[in-house]
């Protein structure tokens, strides 16, 4: 019998370490021989902490929302008593869980199954077999044609064909070439790279080594953001283990091919996700983009030919080499083959990390896998591509998930952040939110981006503050085009996207803010106020206790009142009362 506990960042945050302690204690107390295994994130982040029980027949029982008490119950009833604890059981051999159905795991094939801190676990799943075959039996050109056959496109967001980059790096003359893995996952709302590096670091290393062989590079770097300490630690450990086994380093598998990988930490700059800025940062400079050409494949890190791909792209590579390019291109659509990992978050019931074949519709992803909207509210939009992407409205939810179809909506595929919004999300506020982000992350090199985004932000702020003016929408559109045209890199070129898509699909919401000074979603603080209906209020005092500003007063069992001067408009009172008397209203 085996027990697996998900110890990704999100699992740990939800209390998985405590659960592990209790499991260890119970095993010891009862004198059982159960193998306890740590794994990375399986993706069901909404149900963390997660515990998998694998019985002697190899059947997997997945428990969710596990508490220390639940562990004791699982030991009592399931392990000793042989009957699963229904209360916490998410999935079992006769019980499918909607979250996992419809998913196809290629990049995430080992996440949540293997122990990421144990190389042997990865090898047992067939790991490093592809690398071994590549270096001993294939030529670089064979490798590149296999990738070409697979149709793999860059998973960082732009969707550039991977084989093309590899081939260009290979063709550029030079003795020294580099491989870089871009793990500077800066999009707010995205955590695919973190989960992959935390849950299956070896697949990324293997993909990088294969790329190194194909392009003729002997050195690789993982540029990972410093906000991911666990991912960095696990990747470092994986590199060390692979070096000890002779899988990385000199003369890999006796083939004469050398490949080393080291990790460089980012220092918190969104723009460093852009290739040339990333290279500047690796060289110890301010991470500012430069004009292309020359492209990194021609002159990258220290002026040498450099191939840069995203974490997820590399994680797909060993699978493609092991199963063949055809098997990969059989998944997904003709122009966007394969699968894509998404971080499903926001107002969704079953958020987490998912991997689906391209071509599934957004509606299928959100309602079948994600289980629909929290509190069964109405869906308003889904945001794809983070600050560079856009909001896709409810009526376009039947759009298939592939690069071309998503681009047509004005959003972009992006690296995989998918944030679901319901009717309580204000679209003007969302546009303001993203612009605030890009504005503060603009490196300042291009005038249009540096000043244009600032002016756009000011306009959005005044609309949210109830001071919008006639003509503001047109002005936003005009500046947006200038910013797009006048910026050097992707950050500036795509910064207006969240604004343009929200204007395109939710123009009426902008107009209500400007003309009627009202926020239909009741989110913009300057445009709302909280009141207590004296007829409904029973004076229970729940709201007063929850109020962080202590601005609700009233005698016991008599109607309470909110001091509008002191009110922070945080909505705590509304929540406190909602399940009881619904006396608090927002106007």
């Amino acid at each position: 019998m085996k027990i697996r506990i998900g110890l990704g960042s999100c699992g740990i945050a939800a209390g998985a370490l405590k659960v592990k302690e209790v499991v260890e204690a119970e095993i010891q107390k009862r004198g059982l021989s159960i193998e306890l295994k740590d794994t990375g994130c399986i993706g069901m982040c909404h149900a963390e902490p997660l515990l998998d029980l694998i019985d002697d027949q190899g059947r997997v029982f997945t428990y969710g929302y596990v508490t220390p008490e639940a562990v004791v119950k699982i030991f009592d009833e399931h392990i000793t008593g042989q009957s699963p604890v229904e209360q916490y059981l998410l999935a079992a051999p006769e019980k499918d869980y909607s979250f996992m159905e419809g998913q196809k795991r290629v990049a995430l094939r080992n996440c949540g199954i293997i122990n990421p801190e144990n190389l042997q676990d990865y090898v047992d799943q067939g790991g490093y077999q592809a690398l071994k075959r590549v270096v001993s039996e294939m030529t670089p050109i064979d490798v590149i044609s296999e990738i070409k056959e697979s149709g793999l496109r860059g998973r960082g967001g732009a969707g550039f064909p991977t084989w093309f980059k590899w081939d260009a790096t290979r063709r550029t003359p030079g003795d020294i070439k580099y491989i870089i893995c871009n793990a500077d996952e800066g999009d707010p709302g995205a955590f695919m790279d973190r989960s992959l590096l935390e849950g299956d670091p070896h697949s990324v290393l293997e993909g990088m080594a294969i790329a190194g062989y194909a392009v003729g590079a002997n050195q690789g770097f993982i540029y990972c953001r410093a906000e991911y300490p666990l991912a960095i630690r696990r990747a470092e450990l994986a590199i060390k283990q692979a070096e000890e086994r002779g899988i990385l380093g000199k003369n890999i598998f006796g083939s004469g091919f050398d490949f080393e990988i080291s990790i460089k930490q980012g220092a918190g700059a969104f723009v460093c996700g852009e290739e040339t800025a990333l290279i500047a940062s690796l060289e110890g400079e301010r991470g500012m983009p430069r004009i292309k050409p020359p492209f990194p494949v021609q002159a990258g890190y220290w002026g040498k030919p450099t191939n840069i791909n995203n974490v997820e792209t590399y994680a797909n590579v060993p699978w493609i080499l092991a199963n063949g390019g055809k098997a990969f291109s059989a998944l997904g659509t003709e122009k966007s083959p394969g699968t894509k990992v998404f971080a499903l978050a926001g107002k969704i019931k079953q958020g987490g990390l998912i991997e689906v074949p391209m071509g599934l519709t957004l509606r299928e992803v959100i309602f079948n896998i994600g289980g629909g909207i929290k509190g069964d509210k109405k869906i308003k939009a889904v945001q794809l591509g983070g600050p560079s992407g856009g909001c896709i409205p409810e009526e376009l939810l039947d759009t298939p998930v592939d690069y071309e179809s998503i681009n047509q909506t004005g959003a972009i595929m992006g690296s995989g952040g998918m944030v679901v919004m319901d009717e309580t999300t204000c679209m003007v506020d969302i546009a303001r939110f993203f612009l605030e982000f890009t504005q503060s992350e603009s490196c300042g090199k291009c005038v249009q981006c540096r000043i244009g985004t600032k002016r756009m932000l000011e306009i959005l702020e005044r609309i949210c503050d109830g001071e919008g003016q006639e003509g503001d929408i047109e002005l936003l559109e005009e500046i947006a085009l200038k910013v797009r045209e006048g910026s050097l890199c992707g950050l500036g070129q795509s910064a207006p996207n969240p604004v343009l898509t929200t204007i395109r699909y939710f123009r009426d919401e902008y107009e209500t803010h400007i003309k009627d000074k009202k926020c239909p979603a009741k989110q913009c603080k300057a445009l709302i106020s909280f009141r207590i209906n004296p007829e409904k209020c029973r004076g229970c005092g729940r709201c007063a206790r929850k109020c962080p500003a202590k601005c609700i007063t009233g005698e016991k069992k008599k109607p309470h009142e909110i001091d509008q001067e002191l009110c922070l408009k945080c909505g705590s009172c509304l929540e406190a009362c909602a399940s009881k008397y619904q006396a608090v209203t927002v106007e």
Binding site: S9, C10, P188, K264, A267, G284, P548, K569, E575
Partner: protein, 182 residues
């Protein structure tokens, strides 16, 4: 006016007063000696030693590595990770990612600012709490989230967040009073 070499000497003496950190700083500089392009990594090392980037240390690095101080300052101010001021004992990172935003992180921010009476990126006058807003902690399913000294808390509501902070403040006070009676 003192000449540059005198000033450098003075600077070195000032940093040396903190003998333990001086030792760590020397080890760091030896580790990266002669490696081109390692400025970001060195500054990260300095920050993990001192908790921030003291001006004197940046100047010292400039003179030992023969880089212009302006360049070091340029890099230090470009990246959000680097701090030029010391941080409080408890470092609150409030997530402002998209998922946290739509789940009401701004309400948490208002409540914390009100409670601690500070603005984001500032430290309380007793040096106990530093509040920073960060782009995304990557725990989106627990939104809204904050992290205090690498421990993540979520999903939060304004009063839950305040309770966590108040508990920390109370435990500090008790530790402080306990120390006095001993």
């Amino acid at each position: 006016m003192s000449c540059t070499c005198q000033r450098n000497k003075q600077q070195e003496n000032d940093i040396k007063k903190d003998a333990k950190n001086w030792q760590l700083l020397q080890e760091l500089l030896v580790q990266y000696k002669g490696q081109k392009g390692s400025l970001v990594a060195i500054l990260q090392g300095v920050q993990s030693i001192y908790g921030y980037l003291p001006q004197q240390v940046m100047d010292y690095i400039a003179s030992t590595m023969k880089i212009k101080p302006a360049k070091i300052y340029g890099v230090a101010t470009f990246y959000t990770q680097f701090r030029l001021q010391p941080i409080g004992k408890y470092h609150i990172l409030l997530c402002q990612g998209t998922a946290c935003h739509v789940n009401g992180s701004e309400r948490i921010l208002t409540a914390i600012c009100e409670e601690l009476n500070i603005k984001p990126n500032k430290t309380t006058s007793d040096g106990l709490f530093t509040l920073d807003c960060v782009a995304c902690l990557g725990c989106c399913s627990l939104a809204p989230v904050m992290m205090i000294n690498e421990q993540a808390y979520g999903p939060l509501s304004p009063d839950k967040a305040l309770k966590i902070i108040r508990d920390l403040a109370v435990s500090e006070q008790q530790a402080c009073e306990g120390g006095k009676t001993e």
